[in-house]
Amino acid sequence: MHGTRILDETDRLMTVCNSCRYCEGLCAVFPAMEMRRAFSDGDLNYLANLCHSCGACYVDCQFSPPHEFNVNVPKTLAVARAESYAAYAWPQALSGAFARNGLVISIAAALSMAAFVLGFAALNDRSVLFGVHTGPGAFYKLMPHNAMAALFSAAFLYAILALVMSVRAFWRDIGPAIGGRADGGSIFQAVRDAGELRYLHGGGVGCYNEDDRPTDRRKLYHHLTFYGFLLCFAATSVATLYHYLLGREAPYPWWDLPVVLGTLGGIGLIVGPIGLFTARMRRDPALLDESRYGMDVGFIAMLFLTGLTGMLLLVLRETAAMGPLLALHLGAVFALFITMPYGKFVHGIYRFVALVRYAQERRSAT
């Protein structure tokens, strides 16, 4: 018996699946399961995080409900996955943030955005806040660059610290790899598998969303969102280098690298989350962990908000709306950073770690 009901149920299902194995060609979960005859808590959390929730094993299973064996792997692993985030959260005192995640994220976003708006209003004259600023350093008329950099670096570093500590707990819990071998090759393989969402493919036909037709577009929307996020991150990084190395201050002209990257990324961060949200709302409830609606939608909303405020800021940066929009955008980004270790963002980190472990196991198996 395991610590929680969901791990007991996951163990029951993996025992059923391990005596069947029909699904082993669909994704990474089942081959990883086959390397084991019994499952520790860490094993089950590893398998749960390896699952990309494509839904194929549910549609293909002869024992899925209403069969009395009641095998629903995608839903069960989704619940186990969400509970694993809380179980490994650092510091543990904040693990409760996952339980009512939508609320936590909303409050964090609202407070953060309000703080920037009010902060700008308090620190700046009305004429500055609603003024028209153009040319290099325009943004820093509202908030000094060093203050901005210090604040966001602190938030970002905290997020990284919390994530590293959480992943460390996860990595320890899943134990040594079967046949264990940690090397660069496994990490490279995992980067490729994560980068192309190799296992979000229903075994080749695509994923299942609202019915038994594999026509799901989540892979495309996820790519738009993920690579949009990376492009925005790259835009910020390039801008930081411009600032410190070249002494060139934002805002930059539309054709300059940070803006081009940011624009492309921003489009991804608007279109991707809309697609993911639509798919989420249409998805067959049988495949979903419905109790985590807030966590799923909260993260999607934060990414969308970040993309939207960023794009508006770009379009309207030479008007009087620049000040308030800058405050809203910075508020959104700040909230995104500080809630990263306590929301859906962590799915990518845990899944990547699970893919590294899987790559290790596959490499030592062959």
Binding site: R21, V205, D212
Partner: protein
């Protein structure tokens, strides 16, 4: 065309869908009547995982060639010659093309599953298993414009002089309780879930049989056809039956209730006596006889008994083994006579000769001086905990069926071919399988004769 179709297909499994797709591709209007609700559609196909097809060269998923001649020899061997050579050779020839045809209908292959019975060269596995295969066939059929109705139980067939006229339904379909069609394809499976029918041949023992597939395989269409003058084929007591866990549900336990551990231990009946050579041949060649062996034992129950040293030698099981720290404790849990079980194990252990164990070949680990002997893989059962699986006969499918010719056309009792009635799949498996079984053949019969039946049914309807 409100209630008159070119081709009516009764059944909803592999054979039925191959027939429906093939008839539709032949230009016919097609209605499929599946008696089960949507979730349970497809009968035994739900539980399958591979198909045995001949091929002259290795493929992406098959490790080497499996010629028509080799397939034929395997069939001859497992059936003990009880097959229709002309029909069987025709099926084997056609099976080569099925490997590609079935892919064109949306089914995807994969290499043989981990832990399966060395079928990598002969059998092609369905990616995602039998239900994934069915899902693909249904999507294709619907895309082509085949009409499909679920919960569509046929209560009567109107047949005159070997000519199908109409099927009567329990509840209306498209407002009609009678569906007329120019041709009929019967692909509605066997009667393994009809315990009363099984009792006609097996007596009360049939009450102790477990049925591996859905409760919808009641053989009602088969019975109607035989009652209305279609020629019968096959021995009604012959079926595909394996030993499955006695704790399995009465119906639809599927693949996961099976046990592959017989060769690693001994098997005793309720009197704690051994009754058959557990090491007669490698397991893939012998697994399908153990259902009948257990059916012949008192109360149709037996126990696979082994010790802790072999647990990791076979696939993990759904139901855990029952364990005892001593033979007596295990006997108590199994409600066997402890003295008798200890005696059986002691005598068996004393009879084991030294040898080099290798379960992948016919090794030299044998017993001497006991009856029945264990002729391979015999090792002492002496390392606690002692473990056991209780097993009962698990009936997969029956062989009694309708006689057909190479066009999958049913033959009437007087030997004349029916004008417009065709059969495919389990309902006519007895034409090819007089007895015995080799893994994956049920699906070969279904796809090959389904495709032929659909093609011929459409041709008849379009003439």
């Amino acid at each position: 065309m409100s209630s008159k179709y070119d081709v009516l297909v009764i059944g909803g499994g592999n054979a039925a869908l191959c027939a429906a797709i093939s008839a539709r591709r032949g230009g016919a209007s097609v209605l499929v009547l599946e008696g089960a609700p949507k979730f349970y559609r497809g009968g035994n196909t739900r539980h399958t995982r591979n198909m045995r097809c001949a091929h002259d060269a290795a493929t992406e998923i098959l490790t080497g060639p499996y010629t028509e001649e080799e397939f034929w020899k395997d069939l001859l061997l497992v059936t003990g010659g009880k097959t229709d050579e002309e029909l069987a050779r025709h099926m084997i020839r056609e099976s080569k093309d099925i490997l590609n045809w079935i892919v064109e209908q949306g089914v995807r292959w994969q290499p043989s599953l981990g832990g399966t019975l060395s079928l990598g060269r002969t059998n092609s596995f369905f990616l995602g298993g039998g239900r994934a295969m069915l899902n693909a066939l249904y999507l294709t059929a619907e895309r082509l414009g085949v009409d499909v109705e679920y919960d569509a139980e046929v209560t009567d067939l109107v047949i005159e002089d070997g000519m199908f006229l109409a099927a009567r339904l329990k509840r209306p379909v498209k407002g009609e309780t009678e569906i007329r069609a120019t041709s009929l394809v019967a692909a509605a499976g066997g009667f393994e879930a009809n315990i009363d029918w099984l009792k006609q041949y097996w007596g009360e023992a049939a009450d102790n049989f477990l049925i591996r597939g859905t409760p919808y395989n009641r053989g009602s269409i088969l019975k109607m056809l035989l009652d209305k003058g279609v020629q019968e084929v096959g021995d009604p007591t012959q079926c595909h039956a394996v030993a499955i866990d006695a704790r399995a549900p009465k119906f639809d336990g599927g693949i996961i209730t099976r046990h592959d551990s017989v060769v690693f231990g001994i098997v005793v009946n309720k009197h704690a006596q051994r009754f058959y050579d557990e090491g007669e041949d490698i397991w893939p060649k012998r697994y399908a006889i153990w259902g009948r062996l257990v059916a012949a034992q008192p109360d149709q129950i037996a126990y696979i008994i082994f010790d802790s040293t072999v647990v990791a030698s076979f696939m993990p099981t759904l139901f855990p083994p029952i364990a005892g720290h001593s033979v007596a404790e295990l006997a108590g849990k199994l409600e066997l006579d402890p003295v008798a079980l200890e005696k059986t194990i002691t005598e068996f252990n004393a009879a084991v000769r030294p040898g080099t164990f290798d379960h992948t070949i016919l090794d030299d680990c044998v017993t001497e001086g006991i009856t029945p002997p264990k002729t391979h893989w015999a090792r002492k059962i002496e390392t606690p905990p002692y473990l056991a699986y209780p097993v009962r006969p698990g009936i997969t499918f029956t062989y009694l069926g309708t006689r057909v010719n190479k066009e999958a056309r049913m033959l009437m009792a007087d030997g004349k071919p029916s004008a417009n009635m065709f059969a495919a799949g389990e309902i006519m498996a007895g034409n090819v399988l007089g007895q015995g079984y080799a893994a994956g053949m049920g699906m070969t019969i279904g796809s090959v004769f389904g495709r032929i039946a659909g093609r011929e049914a459409a041709r008849h309807a379009k003439n």
